[in-house]
């Protein structure tokens, strides 16, 4: 079973749509600035420690799928 299939098996079924992704990013972004502009350092620490690992994980999953795709395309082109 390829890496892509394993990733799809675990994460593909979650069906996180693009719209939900954007809502999450928007909420994070707004909270980040509210906590900064409101001098709410404690809340900022909570936000960073809980949200950034999720973003980090999403970057790993999404990037892995894309790199595999690009490598395959590159091989097909004879690169």
């Amino acid at each position: 079973m390829g890496l892509k299939k394993i990733i799809r098996l675990f994460f593909g079924e979650l069906k996180i749509t693009k719209k939900v992704g954007w809502i999450i990013i928007f909420i994070l972004f707004v909270l980040y600035y509210i906590f900064f502009l409101g001098n709410m350092i404690g809340a900022m620490i909570y936000l960073l420690i809980y949200s950034l690992p999720l973003i980090w994980l999403a970057t790993i999953i999404g990037g892995t799928i894309e790199i595999i795709k690009i490598m395959k395309e590159h091989n097909k082109k004879g690169g």
């Binding site: 990013i25 994070l28 972004f29 980040y32 600035y33 900064f36 502009l37 001098n39 350092i41 404690g42 900022m44 620490i45 909570y46 936000l47 960073l48 420690i49 949200s51 950034l52 690992p53 973003i55 980090w56 999403a58 970057t59 790993i60 999953i61 999404g62 990037g63 799928i65 894309e66 790199i67 795709k69 690009i70 490598m71 395309e73 590159h74 004879g78 690169g79």
Partner: protein, 491 residues
């Protein structure tokens, strides 16, 4: 510790080299320098975050947090706000413009609108920044090699530059972006562990919060504790600058579609929270030190705190991982700016010379990478005051480029002559004022009489643009419309 970390670095280097070799067979410069205009969302997001956060943004921002507190976070908060503006206004249109006009660089955009005369000067200004930033990253790597392995700094600089050169010159942007993505993953893990460690030393999240209030002065916990003049400088150099950042223009050209360019540009504003870790981490180190939980040397400088913390304070095994991740942070930034510099050199200088009769364009692109790396090494080894020069370089870019670029986007009445003199006058006036500030206050970045050099440069540049454009005759619509915002399609 040295043996394990050197082994880890060798393994990573061979991984990057493998990627470089894997992508080495490319047939067109746009594949080598722009990754074939084919970067997807996640790769863009990861690689950009990796490249945007460099050595200075980690070690330097920890120092800012330690010395100046919460208000220093404006530095990244401003850029975090600018990126969505850039995304909504320009990301899609630039991607489309790049495809229609085969554009590689920001000077391509200016030359399309104002003619070839403006290319060399705008490219020279754009080129300074990546070279200085690459030089700064080489210096940072040299320092790490010295601190961690006791290696002479000169050798550290040369070794690190050669390591980056080897995998960027083979696979170009393909290997640089892929490696940056891997580096950003390690960098992100390192930042999270660093942040967790600073919280751990303060006794947990709740205790961190109470320690900050107990041991730090109220001014350091206040986001508004900053001088207005300095704040406007941040708005211009860390905010407005991104609207005319040659590096950002290249990212927009590289995205695989206009929609990807937009999506990724909005998402990368989240690199701002990643940067926030360094600032708050610096504040937490200060509170832990003042609570006598950890000890720091009395004479330690702000930008040395991060390296001291990861090499001397925390557990060696974790410190080892953080050291490797810090190296990845620096590598990703250096490789991205080297490729940006190489693209400018190939597209705006070498492509126009007779060298094209002798070598094919991929070879010339590779020569551009090598030459840019050599410039980076030279600045790292021999140019003193590299940080002030980088500040001047970034300030000159915004002073000279902002008005002509915005006029090309939005002002039909702007003329080529107006843009050319706007660029020159902005550069000269800001450069002269920066030297004056350096002489008077010891730093080119200093405020003199309530003004920073970018205030002066932008004002003069605007006056010249408007005045000369109104003297000249309006230029034909078929030229003006090529870069006019409302005329460039969204997809």
């Amino acid at each position: 510790m040295s043996v394990v970390s050197i082994t880890a670095l060798i393994i990573l280097f061979f991984l990057f080299l493998f990627i470089g070799v894997k992508f080495s067979k490319v047939s067109k410069p746009k594949e080598f320098l722009l990754m074939g205009r084919n970067i997807g969302f996640w790769l863009f997001f990861g690689a950009y975050t990796g490249a945007a956060i460099g050595g200075a943004s980690t070690a330097g921002f920890v120092g800012y947090g330690y010395n100046d507190g919460y208000s220093s976070m404006w530095l990244i908060a401003v850029s975090g706000l600018t990126l969505p503006i850039f995304a909504f206004a320009f990301a899609k249109k630039l991607n489309v413009f790049g495809r229609i006009n085969e554009a590689y660089t920001l000077p391509d955009f200016l030359a399309t609108r104002y003619g070839e005369k403006i290319r060399i000067l705008s490219s020279f200004i754009s080129y300074l920044r990546p070279v200085f930033i690459a030089g700064l990253q080489f210096v940072a790597l040299g320092i790490v090699f010295k601190v961690a392995f006791g290696l002479n700094m000169k050798y550290g600089i040369i070794i690190s530059a050669v390591l980056i050169l080897v995998y960027t010159v083979t696979g170009g942007q393909y290997s640089a972006i892929t490696a940056q993505w891997i580096q950003s993953i390690l960098q992100g893990a390192g930042l999270l562990i660093f942040f967790g460690a600073t919280i751990f030393y303060n006794g947990g999240i709740s205790a961190s919060f109470s320690n900050l209030h107990k041991f730090l002065s109220p001014e350091k916990l206040n986001a508004y504790n900053t001088d207005f003049s300095i704040f406007t400088v941040w708005i211009i150099t860390m905010g407005l600058f991104y609207l005319v950042d040659p590096w950002l223009y290249q990212w927009a050209y590289m995205a695989k579609s206009a929609q990807t360019s937009f999506d990724a540009m909005v998402a990368v504003s989240l690199s701002s929270p990643w940067g926030a870790i360094s600032f708050i981490g610096g504040m937490l180190i200060e509170s832990a030190a003042k609570a006598n939980i950890i000890s720091l040397p009395a004479s330690i400088q702000g930008d040395q705190i991060y390296l001291y913390f990861i090499t001397k304070v925390i557990h060696p095994a974790i410190g080892l991982f953080l050291l490797v991740s810090f190296l990845m942070t620096v590598l990703s930034c250096a490789s991205s700016f080297l490729l940006n510099g190489a693209t400018l050199m190939y597209n705006d200088f070498l492509k126009k010379t007779k060298i094209t009769q002798k070598y094919d364009h991929i070879k010339i692109s590779r020569i551009a990478v090598i030459v840019t790396t050599l410039f980076g090494i030279a600045t790292a080894l021999w140019v003193p005051f590299l940080i002030p020069l980088w500040i001047i370089g970034q300030g000159l870019a915004v002073s000279g480029l902002l008005v002509p670029v915005f006029a090309a986007w939005f002002w039909k009445r702007g003329t080529s002559r107006g843009a050319y003199y706007s660029l020159i006058s902005g550069l000269i006036s800001s450069f002269v004022f920066s030297l004056f500030a350096w002489y008077r206050k010891g730093s080119p970045n200093a405020i003199v009489g309530g003004f920073h050099f970018v205030h002066i440069g932008l004002f003069v540049s605007l006056i010249f643009m408007v005045f000369i454009s109104y003297i000249d005759q309006q230029e034909p619509d078929e030229i003006v419309n090529k870069t006019l915002w409302k005329e460039i399609p969204w997809v």
